[in-house]
């Protein structure tokens, strides 16, 4: 993975020092809150319901064991001993004090990390496929390009005060695990007929109160033109994006109002006029970055060792874990191990300091010291020998990290909701906990198969409810929490926005309503291989509405 050179380190340390100075000026009263707020946001510092919150960037979701241990240390020293992994592959600390944050940023700089642009109306952390580099269906590893974009977008002088936030996601695989169609810019790595690497470019996707699936603006842009083309899109947006209404300020609204063809023409016009040579990555830079992402020194191994088959046959819980959490690696004899942060009845995406330490140790022992964070709020060890799987599973079990539910109904994306967030209108976590407990039974989860529930505590949709096979949106009705259910959303390569089923439910009713929907699905499906989403697509909402509202 990428390691900072002297230049990167100097940059991040200077940025931390710059923020320290800004905090000092704020605390002494030289800087007013209105002037300070955008500055702190651009360093990931929010004021939440109970305290400040610090969001630390995990660029494209890749961490070293050393970095994860440092995050654990920060959680223990400055917070309450835990952190929350987010849908943007970042980690949030819920209780830091403003006066300590400059020290935290220094601690992060010690391990090549930062909180730059994890909030604010600027280019945010570039996200990617958590299986980058090892997925069997990958054209090329997107992380070198993501790192290049991280550098290019850091403190960009022209694009630091955009109309609204700007999120870029990139995938190198055919199966989209990075939800690129729900980003301001989505990039899909491709090879053209000459074998040249380039990108399919999507623009104007997003969730929030106006969910939109991104539209294609270019079918192929060469690597050389990537940064200039991004400049052209960002410049068109910075100049023309709406600033009169916060809720209409994202690029998706501009693209929607202009139409993709007019927007493309505008971008092309700017692109043609650019001094592209000046905007391209320096010569040799992508090669330099790519070296850091060369795959580790794998051994030559047989796929599916007899020991693994034996262990699976002997231990049903381990077998369930392999079935749900272990994915195919492109190298024979290796596997991708997904560690669920969704224990039954737990808080989705939370990890304690000691769990972070355990995962860091396991990464060192079994996965070349590297950890990934997924946008579905789980962790990944991307290079595990199949012969180590059983031992690894036992170690995960000791840390209560062995929940076998990746992609299952209890593996829910959940925003922090009204338990933490100032914007929330209702709680999300207790809803997830109730659903999780209702579907705790492993055999029932297996029977149901792949089903993605996504829960947001307000219309801003941080919990991606629009993209959930079952989406749950928490709202406030005269001081009471109530929840609206949508069906048929999807965040993958067939991205779709879910449709609202009907009247909402109280907090106590939601888990029961999900139960009814799931039972209806089981009745309706033609075979076990027909997923919940397939059935919704085939039969529409009516049979589900009937099941839910017949008694009401």
């Amino acid at each position: 993975m990428y390691v900072y050179d002297d230049f990167d380190e100097k940059f991040v340390r200077e940025r931390a020092a710059q923020f320290r100075d800004q905090v000092e000026r704020r605390l002494s009263g030289q800087l007013e809150e209105a002037q300070f707020r955008p500055l702190r946001l651009m360093n990931g510092v929010y004021l939440q319901l109970h305290a400040y919150m610090l969001r630390v960037a995990v660029p494209y979701g890749t961490l070293s064991s050393r970095q994860l241990r440092q995050l654990s240390m920060i959680a223990s020293k400055y917070d309450k001993g835990y952190g929350h992994f987010t849908t943007r592959q970042n980690i949030q600390f819920n209780w830091p004090q403003l006066k300590d944050i400059p020290d935290i940023l220094d601690d992060l700089a010690d391990v090549g990390m930062h909180a730059i642009q994890t909030s604010g109306n600027c280019i945010r952390n570039v996200t990617s496929d958590q299986w980058s580099g090892v997925a069997a269906d990958e054209v090329a590893d997107p992380r070198p390009y993501a790192e290049l974009m991280r550098q290019w977008s850091s403190l960009h002088p022209e694009f630091s005060y955009l109309p609204r936030k700007f999120k870029i996601a990139i995938t190198g695989a055919v199966s989209d695990r990075a939800a690129i169609a729900f980003h301001d810019i989505g990039l899909q790595l491709l090879k053209n007929s000459d074998g040249e690497i380039g990108f399919r470019v999507l623009v104007g996707g997003g969730l929030g109160r106006t969910p939109m699936v991104a539209k294609q603006i270019r079918d192929f842009i060469s690597f050389d033109d990537l940064l200039p083309y991004l400049v052209a899109i960002l410049r068109a947006y910075n100049i023309e994006g709406r600033r009169d209404n916060k809720y209409k300020a994202r690029i998706k609204i501009l693209v929607h109002e202009k139409g993709i063809d007019d927007f493309r023409a505008r971008v092309d016009d700017i692109f043609e006029g650019l001094d592209k040579e000046k905007l391209r990555a320096p010569k040799g830079e992508i090669e330099r970055i790519s070296k850091f992402f060369e795959l580790p020194a794998y051994e030559t191994l047989e796929e599916n060792s007899p020991e693994l088959a034996e262990a699976r046959a002997a231990n049903a819980s381990f077998n369930a874990f392999v079935n749900r959490n272990v994915a195919t690696h492109k190298k024979p004899g290796y596997s991708i191990v997904n560690i669920s942060l969704k224990p039954i009845g737990g808080i989705p995406g939370d990890a304690t300091s000691s769990q972070m330490d355990v995962v860091a140790d396991l990464a060192d022992q079994y996965s070349f010291g590297e950890i990934r964070v997924s946008h579905e709020q789980n962790l990944v060890l991307a290079h595990v020998k199949q012969s180590d799987l059983f031992t690894l599973w036992q170690r995960l079990r000791e840390a209560e990290l062995e929940t076998a539910n990746i992609g299952a109904i209890t593996d829910m994306i959940t925003c922090p909701g009204l338990d933490y967030c100032t914007l929330a209108t209702a709680r999300s976590i207790p809803i997830a906990q109730k659903i999780s407990e209702k579907f705790a039974d492993q055999s029932r989860q297996d029977l149901i198969g792949d089903l993605k529930i996504k829960i947001s505590g307000c219309i801003n949709a941080c919990g991606h409810h629009h993209a959930g096979h079952i989406g749950i949106l928490g709202l406030d009705k005269k001081g009471e929490e109530y929840y609206q259910i949508t069906l048929g959303g999807s965040g993958d390569e067939n991205a779709a926005v879910g449709d609202i089923l009907g009247p909402g439910f109280s907090a106590d009713e939601v888990a029961g309503a999900v139960d009814v929907l799931v039972d209806r699905y089981i009745e309706l499906r033609e075979s076990k291989s027909e997923s919940f989403l397939d059935v919704v697509k085939r039969v529409g909402l009516e049979p589900f509405k009937e099941a839910l509202y017949a008694d009401h």
């Binding site: 004021l47 939440q48 939370d350």
Partner: protein
Amino acid sequence: MAKKIKGDQIFTGQLLREGLVVYFTADENWSTDLQQAVVATSDDELTELEMKIESISHKNDVIDVYPFVVVRDEKGKLVPQHIRERIRTEGPSIDYINQPFKQNMNAA
């Protein structure tokens, strides 16, 4: 400033340095204890409190100041009327430190 909502109101904010939630008290200070808050029972009192907060010298120490409605419970203690403020006063409603991890229900 905030809308005038019917009901008794108190002013809250958060400490600039620490971020902690505080309430404006009768002795023109800020306390983390809701029960210490000074209650405005009319629009005039609310305006008066608001002006007082504006005028105090340590104004910079507290940010995000706004009023919210409180009621009294059967023991006479102040309780925020809206769930948002109740959670803000009492902390997250979930067991966030000692998470109820698992169980794997059909463990071997």
